[in-house]
């Protein structure tokens, strides 16, 4: 099993979710995060005091998948999240040793 962590633009979430659902992925977890990268932020000025915002709102999507679905899932994310503009984000793949569904205590691929 692998965990896919995708950092994407917030307004792409719906599309990515649908894209993943289309290939049969039924579970995921999202977090509102702030990203720092090449995409430049903006400056706000409050009565003459500057306030530079270089952490931009992003969505972190976490999906744990069995190894055989991994590639399809990554591809689905790339396809749906890409705008081609700087700041589109990253996908990281991490190893997962075990997954357990709390309700049923099922383990492994059956739990995700």
């Amino acid at each position: 099993m692998k965990k896919i962590e995708a950092i994407i633009k917030p307004f792409k979430l719906e599309e990515v979710k649908t894209g993943l659902a289309d290939i049969g992925i039924e579970g995921m977890t999202v977090t509102e995060v702030k990203g720092f990268g090449r995409q430049k932020g903006h400056t706000e000025i409050y009565r003459g005091s500057e306030y530079t915002v270089d952490f931009l709102p992003k969505i972190k999507l976490e999906v744990v998948v069995s190894d055989d679905v991994l590639d399809k899932a990554v591809e689905a994310i790339i396809r749906t999240a890409k705008t081609g503009k700087i700041g589109d984000g990253k996908i990281f793949i991490l190893p997962v040793e075990q997954a357990i569904r709390i309700r049923t205590e099922e383990q492994g691929d059956r739990a995700v």
């Binding site: 706000e44 409050y46 009565r47 003459g48 005091s49 500057e50 306030y51 530079t52």
Partner: protein, 475 residues
Amino acid sequence: MFKKLAIMAGLAALCLSAPLAAHAQSPAPAAPAPMEQRVSDLEAIQTNNPPSAGGLLEKYAAPAHNTWIMVSSGLVLFMTLPGLALFYGGLVRRKNVLSILAQCLGLTAVVTVLWWAIGYSLAFGKGGILGGAEFAFFKGVEFEPNRTYSNWVSHNIWAIYQLTFAIITPALTIGAVAERMKFSAVMLFSVLWMFVVYFPAAHLFWGDGGWFNGLANADAKVHAIDFAGGIVVHITSGWSALILCILLGKRKDFGRTPMPPHSMVLCTAGTGMLWVGWYGFNAGSAVAADRVATTAFVSTTLSAAVGCLVWGAIEWIQRGKPSVLGMCSGAVAGLATITPASGFVSSQSAVIIGFCAGLTTWFACAKLKAMLGYDDALDTFGVHAIGGTVGTILAGVFADPHFNPNLDNNLSKLVGNGLWLEQVKGSLIMIVWSVGASAILFFVVKALIGVRPTPEDEEQGLDLADHGEEGYIET
């Protein structure tokens, strides 16, 4: 002075504890006055002239005027709670929002009790610098108008109306020292400050026999005018704020960490409330629903609008977009600046004053502060001291007896002439007084109980440190 105060307090306490007797009989109806007198008394209500002596109405306030001052009292209290509380509260960081609310609420409560006990008497009793103890514990402050201050408004509602000014003045000051002064220190400082700065200022410019009360006191030492508190409210609070924030030092990590407003939504909502409440502040200061009141209502509206536009326009030109905070600040600046002039000037003058308001306060907040480097957290100095000072001087320039016939009583020679100079004098005296007194009080409070929270408390936020609460809980 404290000794004198103590004696007064003692005396008043005696009065208070004495049986509440003797005053329970209704006024025995005298023989009715002649018709001419009765009708002209009724007319006097409409024209806001004093009643004749001995008529039935001499002992009465007029419902129409009383209504306006009750409404105005509500409006000015509304300016502090929740108006200013939200305006300031939105401008601080999330972790300090409650500290602002607590200070506004705490000051409201403390100043009310002070005012009742002795403050009103010191401010509006008879005297040169301060009044006496004649009205301590609101003794004799009842339904019948105090005709020194108003022809037809009850003495007691006049006292409450003035209370609302006494409340908001120290509340304005806390903006400068926001996010880094202990609640206890704010409270103690403010209590002392009321005695040393506010009560004298209110008396000097507005009180019976006040030395600088140019409008009502023919023998005034400075013939200054201050319609609704340019000096008494905005100069005293604003300049005190400046020295306070310098002495207190900058907020921890100021300049290194950004400290943007945590909620421009609250701030803007507060601005709207301040604007609406300000009608009570300015138009209420006519102490009647008369021609002066409507004049003040008009000039207040225009100056606020123009101040808002000017500030927004400068930002638009200067960096391509007008900010909401800029527009809010301009509106508040327009309101503060017109305050001393509001019941004295034409609508055209109000527009000019609003224009100057926007320009000067923008410069003070966006340029001067950066140049000089003090940390006036919420710009009390930039908006209120500058606005109040500019407005006070402009009041001297634009005051016009056509819009306020009272200017013809004692000031006919000065109006349109040297009045602005009197305004400068009055302002300077109170600037020096406010700055000096506040500096001394600062060190007194520092010595007694300390002024700044620990760095850890400041880091964590004053909401938790001073009140053990959080502004927002997400769960």
